[in-house]
Amino acid sequence: MYYLLTWFVAVTVAWIVPRLLPYNAVEITVSQMVRSLTQGSSMISPQEYKEMVNYIEGLFGANEPLWLQYVHFWEDLLHGNLGPSIAFFPATVNKVIAEALPYDLILIIPSTVVAWVIGNILGAQIGYRKTGTITDKASMIAFVAINNIPFFVLGLLLILVFAVDLHWLPATGYTFSAIPRLTWSYLPIFFRHWILPFASVTIVSLGGWVLGMRQLIINEKGSDYMNYGEALGIRPSILSRYAMKNAFLPQITGLALSLGTVVGGSYVLEFIFGYPGMGYIMGIAATDNDYLTVAGVFVVIATVVLLANYIVDILYSVLDPRVRVAEVGE
């Protein structure tokens, strides 16, 4: 219920933002369309121009009262119709998104999960050791530095090393010589283009999880039950497992919250790599003033991120007995 309401607000943002700005979205869209249609030598007659303005106005519902525009916006949305795309004309926004979404899922989900798992294990190891040593401090500075590089900047560095210097991997995330299909011949090609963006996201996210987990374990180490356990002479390996179980919970919430940042950060990365996900689409569409496509992608991304948050929430209640009990009690 809570998520439904959030989704409602998020989608409304996509509708409200262009209407709050002191710009005429219809005008910008029409001029963009004229530009893309007349790129050849073809001309547009005044008659056609007028028809186009009318069509776009109808699309935005600019000739209707505001509340009706809003109703129509939802009507179209719930029918799964996101309108035509201008930057990728004649494809519709639906088609553009349907082609891009799989690329995002296969990039973001594995990299987030891998970074989370490795980062937490590494962080727990570092945190449980004696802190304050030189290795501890050096590794901490290294992880702070890594965690604060934007995805795409690390991507640039990786391209320099692996694509330009070593010629091991292609510099871009997409190839036009292979048709994207789920065949055995396409998969290795895809993989070669996927590995660098994947590595960029994973390595940068890793730093954050390591630092978070390290701090959490240090906090756990100072708590009463750990001191008691130590006094009882419980083996450190068992104690560290107890500490880890408790420290994991905030990290799960962190996972949900980090999703938005990861998705947002990967846009520029996709653009730099030419990786054909939603970020790439959005970058091109925004450059082309294609508001309809950007808004469509926005709605889909908000939906996916909220769904992911919902799933993490459920996961959390499964893992934390206190939350589970509270929910049953209600």
């Binding site: 607000v9 933002v17 710009y23 702070v144």
Partner: protein, 295 residues
Amino acid sequence: MSRRIPRPKVEVQSIRNSLLWSLLRERFFLGGVIVLLIVVVPALLAGVIAPYKDYLAPVGPLNSPPSAKYLLGTTGFGQDVFSQLLFGTQHTLFVATVAAVLATLIGLAIGIIAGFMGGIPDAVLNFLTNTFLVIPTFTILLLIASIVHHPGLQLEAVIIGAFSWPWGARAYRSFALNMRSRDYVTVARLNGMGGLSIALTEIMPQMLPYIAIMLVMTLNGALMADVGLDAIGLGPGNTITLGLMIGYAWGWGALVYNWWWWWMPPVVVIILVATSLTAIAIGMDRVFNPRLRGA
């Protein structure tokens, strides 16, 4: 957190001094500040020390590697990279700073109102905060960019700032909530102080260290958003920023042809600034949160 600033006026001064001292003794903080100054001071003096004041004008051969005449080489258009770097850093930091201050003000207002008033305002504002926390902020920025093309630096700063407040708002809210039930706040209320004056005179001073930390973190976030937007080509036109430098270099094949001097300098500056900002935040956190010290 910092219940360490007590009321008596005499002691406040000395405690503030000792706080400053512990800050300067904290290596993370000191190191961060030093690195940041090394980057920021030349950028602020760009107008004085840049060899070529017109950073967009072609002044030399195309794509020449670093030399005595062009300290960091030239771009594919024959512009001086060193001059671009100085002005680019200045412009990027300007956008990030304005955005961060704006975001902090919005976050403070929302956080304190929500946390201190409770009830329906809190429910509404908290819901709003959580919503914007979940939606990837960068998507909203792209949404605006698809309509507003090539905003100036000021407008870009305002747009980024207007959507960078949720993390701060959340933190300030929980702090205000925590403060609200403290005894001295109750005493102030029984003394007939209004909500606003309690918030300003009793809660704000306690929050200052906290605000400083959040401000630094927000600054970092705004920097990332700015660099990202500019690198895709959605930033301001007709000027130079670190993101634009990377965007141009990438777009004109500097990466593939290995003209590293074109795009490496802005990348290094971004990493230095981001890392030093985080180090400063960590250092402040350690000093203001005595529990973390020694960890």
